[in-house]
Amino acid sequence: MSVVGKDMPHDSAVGHVSGESIYIDDMPSAKNELLVDFVGSPVACGHIKSVDYSEALKIKGVVACYTYKDLPGINKFGPIIQDEVLLCEDHSSFIGEPIVVIAAETRKALAKAKKAVKLVVEELEPALSIDAAIKKQDFLDKTYRIARGDAERVLKEAKHKLEGTCIIGGQEHFYLESQAALVVPGEYDQLVVHSSTQHPSEIQQVLAKVLGLQQNQVVVVTKRMGGGFGGKESQATHPAGMAALVALKTKRPARIIYTKDDDMKFTGKRHPFQNNFQVAFDDNGRILALKAHLYADGGAAADLSTAVLGRAITHIDNAYYIEHADVVGQICKTNYPPTTAFRGFGGPQGVATIESIVQDIAAYLKKDPLDVRLANLYGTTERNTTHYGQLLKHNTLPQLFEEVVGSSDYRNRRKLVDKFNSESRTHLKGLALTPVKFGISFTNTMLNQANALVNIYLDGTIQVSTGATEMGQGVNTNIKMLVADEFSIDPKCVIVMTTSTEKNNNTSATAASSATDLNGSAAVNACQKIKRSMAEVAARHFDRVETGIGAFPDRIVFADGHIYDERRPHNKLKWQELVAMSYRERVSLGERGYYATQGIGFDWSKGQGSPFLYFTCGCCVAEVVIDRFTGQMKVERVDILMDIGKSINPGINRGQVVGGFVQGMGWVTNEELKYSDKGALLSYSPTTYKIPNIQDIPAALHCNFIDNPNNTVNVRGSKAVGEPPLLLGLAVWAAVKDALVYAGKGQVPKLNLPATGEEILMRLTELKKTTLAVKSKGKEPAKIS
C-alpha cells in the first residue's frame, strides 16, 4: 500500500507542539559566543562622511566593531546583478542599510554600543516612490517586453476602451522567526554557518566572496526556518554575512538575531507595482487587446527584481486569452530596502492588474464580472496559447469555473447580493470569482535542477539529504514519503536530514513552489539507482533459492517492506535482510540522485518560449460585507477549488492552500506598508502592521480539489502548490470592488490595493460625491486611474 497520497503529519509536528523543535536562537550558546548587531544608515540616501565607534569599544563587554574596511573579500554581490554591498562604503541607499557591525558578550553591552556609535551622514535627496524614480528615469536592469499581435492597431479601432493605472502595494513577509544566523569558526578559516535561509548555496557563495574565502571553506546549514515566504532567500545574506565576519575575525562563535522591528524596517518586501494599461474589448467584454506598462518598485538594489518582473509580465494574462498583447516592464530604483522574493513572486501583481481590468470592463458594460471572465477564459482546444507562446496542455480552467460556480451557488447569490444592496441602508455586499493560473518552474531555466543524497544504513533505516529547506511548508515530509514509497517501506525508517551545502552542492533556492518537484525528483532518482543494485542482489538470491527462474532484476518487486520475484511471490525477503545482503555483496547503499527539468526554455530577447513545465490552477469565490459608514469590511464566505494534480500529502497541501489564500487576503486587505516622508517604515511591528487574525477568517471557508490524473510530467503526478493559492486572495479584493460598483451606481470605481477600511471609506465617499462620469461609450477612453 503506497504511502504517497496519505495524510501524514508534518515530520516536525511533534517537536513543534511540544516546544522541542530547535531554531537558531534556541541553539545552546558556547561559553565564548559573541552576539552581533549592527548600526545602519539613519537616512534613505546619504553620503557617509565619518564613522566613529571608539566610544562603543570602551563599553564593558563590547569585543569588536567592523566596517566595510574590515571585509577581507569583495564587498559586492547580488543574485542576478552584482550591485549590493554587505556594509556601506561612502554611500547609503536605504534606512538601516548596515554600516557598522558590533560584537559583544552580552545583550546589554550590545544595546549600549549601538547608541555609542557616531555617524556623520550627509542626507541626499532620496527617491521614495515609483513616480520619483520614473521622473529621474532611474531604473534597475533593462526594459523587458512580451508582445503578441498588434495591440496598438486594435486599440485604435476598438469600440470600447478603458485606460488607467493599477496601484498595488507591497507586503511584509512577517515570518514569525526573524532573520537569524549562528556562525561557528573552525580550522583554517573554515566556517560553519547556521542560517535561517531558503537558499544555503547563495549564502555560501556570497559569504565566500565578501570574506575572501573559497566556497569549500564555507558550510551553510539550515535545519528549519520559522517561516520564509521568500523573505529568507536573498535577504538572509546580510545577517549571515555580518555574523560570519565576526566569527572569522574573532575566532569565536557569533550569533545574530534580528528583532522583529529591525527585521521589518530594514529587510526587503514584496514589490509595490504601478501598472498603466489600455484595454480594448467587444460588447461581450471579450478583451481584444491589452497594452500595459508595469513599473515595479525594486528598492535600492536589483536583488531578484528581474525575475519578479518577469513573472509579473508572464502572469498578466492570468486565466485569459489575450489575442493582442503588448506588455512592457521596468524596475524602478528607489531608496527602500531592496524588494525581494515573496510567495507569488510578481505573479500576484500581474494577476491583480488583469483582474482589476476585468472588473472595470464588467462595471463599464454593466455585466456580471463572471460573464466577462468566461468570455475571456483560456480554452481547451483553441484560444489556449499564452501571450508568450506557451500552449496550455490539459487546461482545467473551464472545468474549475463550471464546478465552483455550481458549488458556490454563484448565480443565485448574485441575485441575493443585488437584493441586499438595494435594501440595506447600512451595509454593502460584494461578490467575486477570481481564477489563478500559475506557471511552475523557475523562469530562469538554469535553476531547474537539484541533487539528493540517499544513504541506507545496515538496520534498514535511511537518511535523505537534499537542497530543499524546510520552512513549515512540508517539503521534508513530502520527500520522506516519496523515498519511503520508492522502497515501499515504513516512512518511520526515513529521516530527511538538516539541509547542508556539505551534502548537496550548488543547490537552487527553495522557491518557485518547486522544492518538492525538483528535490523530490532528485531523491527518487537516487532511490532508483540503489534499487537497481539491490534488485540485482535480490534476483541472484531468488535464483539461488528457487529453481529454474534465473536472475532477472526486472522481475524483482519491492512491496510492503518486502522484496520478491514476481514469479515466486510467496518467497519474500524482508527489507532489512536485503539491505544486509547487499552490504555483504559489496553493493553501494548510498547514492546521489540528480534531476533537471526537461522540456522548458525561454528567450527573453524575443519574449517567447515555454518556460513552465505545467500550470497550477484554481478558482475562488468570495463574498464581503462593508459598513457604509466606516468602510470596515468582513469576508463572509469563501469557496476555493483547485487543481493540484495528485497530492503527495493532502493534509499538507490543504494547509498550503488555506494558508496561502489567507496570506493573499491579508495582502489585498489590511496589510499596509506606511512610510514617513523620509522613507522610514512606520508600520514596523504587529501593533501597526496587521496580518490576518483568527477572527478574520470567514466562518464559511470551503476548500476543495478536482481530480486530475493528467499531470504526468511531474513527480507522482503531483502539482506544486506553495504559491498559487496566495493569488486566490484577490477574490476578496475583487469582491470589494464589486461592492463599490453598487455604491457608484454605474460608475467604474477606483480601488487601490490593499483595500483597507480607510481606502474603502474614502472610495465610497468619492463615489457619493462624483456624478456619473462614464456616460459615453464613444471613442474617448474612460479614464479610471
Binding site: 515570518y175 514569525l176 520564509g228 490543504r654 499596509e672 496587521k690 487574525n693 483568527i694 477568517i697
Partner: protein
C-alpha cells in the same frame, strides 16, 4: 523585606534576585533557564508566540487560577508568588497532551514558531471551560476568542480551529492534575503578603502590599514607573523607550481587587483585570462588553486593567470614550487622603493626568446608563480584533418624545486627548431625532476635532469617520419605521 522573587516554573521553585529579577519572563525562560520552547517574535504582546500560563492564588485563596499571558511583557518583578507553566510543561507522563496530539493530527503546525504559543492559549481555553455533561467540544467562536491573541502566518488558522474543535473537553488533563496545587497554595499563602524589594545593577523595584506604603514610595521616588498588568509599560521597556531607576509593582496591594455594583454604579478596583470586566459587563452592559471583547487579546485582557488603560492615557484608549460619556470617576489615593476626579477632566495633555506626584488610582466608579438611554460605542481599527483604534466614539442620549436630550459625545483618535464634543452635544440637544439632525451633528463634530495623519489613518479619514459615525448612530438606534433611506 524579602529580597527575591519567589516563583515556580513547571513545578520547580526558583528564587530570583539581582539583575535576573529585571528580565522579561521570556528572556528569563530562554536565556537563564534554557527553556527555549517559548518563542519571542514581536516583544510587544501582539503575536502571542510567547504565551505561557501564569498561575496564582484565586480570590478565595483556595486554589490556583491559571491565565494565559504574554511572557515577553511580563517582567520577573511582576511574578512573585506565581507558577509559570510553559509549553515544555504540558506533556502528560512524557506523552503529548490531547491538544498537542490534535494539533499534530490536524496539521495545526507548519513552521512551528507560533505553535507553542497556540498550544498554551488553546490549553487555556480548555482550562477555563466546563461544559458539563451535555456538550463536550468547544465551539468555533470559543476557539477564535481564545486564540485572538495568537498570530499564525502559515496555516490560515483553519487547521488550528479544527484541532481545537476535535478535542473532547474531558480528555484534557488540567494543570491542577499535572501540578498538585497544595504545595503551591501553601507557599503562596505564606509569602503572598510579604513586601519585596530587589536591587539590580541599575534599578530597583518595590512590591508593596498596602495602599499606604505604595503612596509613600511613589511620593519618595519621583519618576517611579508603576507596573500592574504591565501590558503598556513592559512594551516600552522592551523597546527601550523608558529606562526606569525605580519600579513599583502593584500586583499584591490589598483592597484593589474588588468588582461590584453599588446602587446604580459599578465599582472597579484598580487591579481588576479587563477580562473580569468583560465577563461582568456581558449581561450588565453589552455595548461596553463588545468594546472589551475586541480590546487586545485574551492574554492582554487577563493581565491588563481598566486603571492601566486610564493611567496610560492614550487618546485612542478603547475604554475612555465610554467613561467620558457615562460620567465615570476615578478614585485616587494620596498622602492627603482619597479624592475623586471625573474621567473627562482627568487629562491635561497628551498622556498627562492631573494627579499629584504621590497619588495612585485605586478605583473607578462607573454609573450605569439608564434603560432609556441610547448608548453606542464605536471602535474603528484596521483589523477588528487585537488592533489599536484609528478612531473611537461614544454617543449617548435620551429621547424626549421626538426630541433629543442629554446628548453626550466623546471621540478618540481625533486630538491629543479624548475629546468631549460639547458643541456637537449642544447641537443635538432639543433637535428632532432625524437623519438630518445627525448629518448636521456630524458636520459640527468635524469642526470640533483636530485629527492628525499617522500610521493608523489619515486626517481626512478621521474627519470622515467623525461625520459618518453620527449617521451610523442614527441608523442603529432609530426605530425601524422612522428610518430614511440614505
Amino acid at each position: 523585606m524579602r529580597d527575591f522573587v519567589l516563583l515556580y516554573v513547571n513545578g520547580v521553585e526558583h528564587q530570583v534576585s539581582g539583575d535576573d529579577a529585571f528580565l522579561s519572563l521570556s528572556d528569563y525562560l530562554r536565556y537563564s533557564l534554557n527553556k527555549c520552547g517559548t518563542k519571542v517574535v514581536c516583544a510587544e504582546g501582539d503575536c502571542g508566540a510567547c504565551t505561557v500560563f501564569l498561575g496564582r492564588l484565586n480570590a478565595p485563596k483556595s486554589g490556583i487560577e491559571y491565565i494565559p499571558v504574554n511572557a515577553c511583557i511580563q517582567y520577573m518583578y511582576q511574578l512573585d508568588c506565581t507558577h509559570i507553566v510553559t509549553v515544555e510543561g504540558l506533556k502528560v507522563d512524557g506523552d503529548l497532551n490531547r491538544i498537542q496530539q490534535s494539533m499534530v493530527d490536524c496539521h495545526g503546525a507548519q513552521c512551528g514558531y507560533c505553535t507553542p504559543g497556540f498550544i498554551v492559549a488553546m490549553c487555556s481555553l480548555f482550562e477555563q471551560c466546563d461544559k458539563g455533561e451535555k456538550s463536550c467540544n468547544v465551539t468555533r467562536q470559543e476557539v477564535s476568542d481564545a486564540l485572538t491573541g495568537n498570530l499564525c502566518r502559515c496555516t490560515g488558522y483553519e487547521a488550528i480551529i479544527k484541532a481545537a474543535m476535535s478535542v473532547d473537553e474531558k480528555e484534557y488533563k488540567r494543570l491542577d492534575n499535572l501540578y498538585p496545587s497544595q504545595t503551591l497554595i501553601s507557599a503562596f499563602k505564606k509569602h503572598h503578603d510579604e513586601p519585596v524589594s530587589v536591587k539590580g545593577e541599575e534599578s530597583e523595584f518595590f512590591k508593596p502590599t498596602d495602599v499606604k506604603s505604595a503612596v509613600e514610595y511613589k511620593s519618595n521616588h519621583p519618576g517611579v514607573v508603576i507596573v500592574s498588568g504591565g501590558t503598556d509599560v513592559c512594551v516600552n521597556l522592551n523597546k527601550g523607550r523608558i529606562e526606569p531607576k525605580n519600579i513599583m509593582v502593584l500586583t499584591h496591594v490589598s483592597g484593589l481587587d474588588e468588582l461590584k455594583t453599588s446602587g446604580n454604579t459599578v465599582e472597579v478596583g484598580a487591579r481588576v483585570s479587563l477580562r473580569k470586566l468583560e465577563e461582568f459587563f456581558q449581561e450588565t452592559l453589552p455595548e461596553f462588553h463588545h468594546i472589551l471583547w475586541v480590546f487586545g487579546s485574551p492574554q492582554i485582557r487577563y493581565a491588563g486593567t481598566l486603571a492601566g488603560n486610564i493611567a496610560n492615557g492614550s487618546p485612542i484608549a478603547d475604554s475612555l470614550p465610554f467613561l467620558f460619556v457615562s460620567g465615570a470617576e476615578v478614585e485616587v489615593a494620596g498622602l492627603k487622603g482619597d479624592r475623586r476626579i471625573k474621567v473627562n477632566q482627568l487629562y491635561s495633555g497628551y498622556r498627562k493626568m492631573v494627579l499629584t506626584d504621590d497619588e495612585i488610582i485605586v478605583k473607578i466608579h462607573i454609573p450605569l446608563p439608564a434603560k432609556s438611554t441610547k448608548l453606542k460605542l464605536y471602535k474603528v481599527s484596521k483589523r477588528e480584533h487585537l488592533d489599536i483604534s484609528s478612531f473611537t466614539a461614544a454617543i449617548s442620549l435620551e429621547r424626549d418624545g421626538d426630541k433629543i436630550s442629554n446628548a453626550q459625545v466623546a471621540y478618540g483618535g481625533v486630538a491629543a486627548v479624548v475629546l468631549k464634543l460639547s458643541k456637537t452635544e449642544e447641537f443635538l440637544n432639543g433637535k428632532p431625532f432625524s437623519l438630518d439632525t445627525f448629518r448636521g451633528a456630524g458636520e459640527v463634530a468635524m469642526k470640533e476635532i483636530m485629527p492628525i495623519s499617522d500610521v493608523r489613518g489619515s486626517k481626512d479619514y478621521r474627519l470622515q469617520l467623525a461625520a459618518n459615525i453620527m449617521e451610523k448612530f442614527y441608523f442603529e438606534t432609530a426605530d425601524e419605521k422612522e428610518l430614511v433611506c440614505p
